[in-house]
């Protein structure tokens, strides 16, 4: 087998922002070898290793589990470890940091606000009274597991925050992934913390900000369906409100 005389290449237009050097971001074009089995993250690693070591971006697992390599690829939020060059070749690929987040440097976004919201929803099992270890685990049937399992697959990649126009317009909006995670625990038969999540999920900056664009579910690499979780919560919240209007209902 002979060596090909000309190596096929593909262009990457990469968002650059170096706060100590420039006030406005720019795009830098890199030409990288084109390989059928390469993903955008492979191309970025090639640039970082052999062309330009100053390029900054986050990544870890390369296999769609860690959720750290999310970026805008040709305007769509994607895990770059799952965005194959062959799906774009021979056109250039534009790589930007996730939108709706402040940019720290190049492709690295600031996720402080996301982390604050994530914590606010208390994404852990809350018990009114913890039972002693000696009494064993909190048991659950497969049917009870099925109720929330889909919403538990979230890897916190934040692609849904970049896909959601409401996140972009309303700074306070708790956002798709966190609301889905709140539902994940509210629907868990072992959990008793619903009241503690009430304000975050059902308050003014929770589910009612959502206008059901549905793009969060379209871009989700784990098929979590945050839009579904939010609409379910809306139905639940509306029903509970209706009950308070009944003469025998409880007003809070």
């Amino acid at each position: 087998m002979g060596t090909p005389t000309t190596q096929r290449t593909i262009k990457l237009e990469v968002f650059r922002y170096r706060p100590e050097e420039e006030d406005e971001p720019t795009f830098q074009t890199y030409e990288v070898p084109y390989r059928e089995d390469w993903v955008v993250l492979d191309a970025l690693n090639h640039i970082k290793d052999t062309v330009d070591g100053t390029l900054s971006y986050r990544w870890s697992c390369r296999m769609g589990v860690c959720g750290s390599c999310g970026m805008m690829v040709n305007g769509y939020p994607k895990l770059t470890c799952a965005a194959f060059l062959r799906d774009y070749y021979p056109n250039a690929i534009r790589v930007e940091p996730l939108v709706n987040f402040p940019v720290e440097r190049d492709l690295v976004i600031n996720m402080d606000d996301f982390m604050r919201k994530l914590k606010a929803v208390k994404p852990w099992i809350i018990r009114k009274k913890e039972q002693p270890l000696a009494e064993g685990e909190y048991r659950q049937t497969p049917a009870e597991l099925a109720q929330y399992k889909q919403f538990s697959m979230c890897i916190n990649c934040m692609l849904c925050y970049s896909a959601c126009p409401v996140v972009g317009r309303e700074e306070g909006f708790i956002g798709p992934a966190v609301l889905a995670l709140g539902q994940r625990y509210n629907l868990d038969s072992r959990d008793q913390g619903r009241a503690q999540r009430q304000e975050t999920i059902f308050g003014h900056e929770g589910i009612w900000e959502c206008t059901f664009v549905g793009e969060c579910s379209t871009v989700c690499p784990k098929d979590v369906d945050p839009a579904g979780a939010i609409q379910m919560a809306k139905v639940q919240g509306a029903m509970e409100y209706m009950k308070t209007l009944l003469p025998w209902g409880q007003r809070s």
Binding site: P19, P25, P102, A146, P165, G168, T211, A227
Partner: protein, 127 residues
């Protein structure tokens, strides 16, 4: 140290993606449906005023502009209906043990009820 760079999405974000544009059309559909209802309520009011007022209003409704409006409103109403019908399984999940009832089974009854009500209205109008 500089604070992180904020990139605002701008006012034309809804033109950037087909899915966003379709959502904006869905939201806009409410305006046309509300306008249709206003014309319809005026129609009921005219019925109360007597045959002459009603006849004059019907002639107005049959003017080319109003026919065009009703066609556009119909298109928006269908878009509104189809998008929300298809969204039903997102909001309502029904379980049979560990299995979720397939989304298509959740969407179907909406269309069935719609067909029955439409057939009833057509029957009332034509009889």
């Amino acid at each position: 140290m500089k604070p992180p760079l904020n990139r605002n999405m701008g006012s034309t974000w809804w033109l950037s993606r087909g899915a966003y544009f379709l959502i904006m059309l869905r939201e806009l559909s409410a305006v046309f449906i509300a306008a249709y209802l206003v014309f319809f309520l005026i129609c009921l009011y005219k019925v109360g005023q007597g045959p002459e007022a009603y006849g004059a209003y019907l002639r107005f409704l049959w003017s080319p502009g109003m026919i065009l409006f009703h066609l556009v409103a119909l298109a928006f109403a269908l878009l509104h209906m189809v998008t929300w019908f298809n969204a039903t399984p997102k909001a309502v999940r029904v379980w049979r043990g560990e299995e979720r009832v397939p989304p298509a089974l959740m969407i179907g009854p909406n269309y069935a009820v719609w067909a029955v009500i439409t057939a009833f209205i057509i029957w009332v109008v034509l009889k």
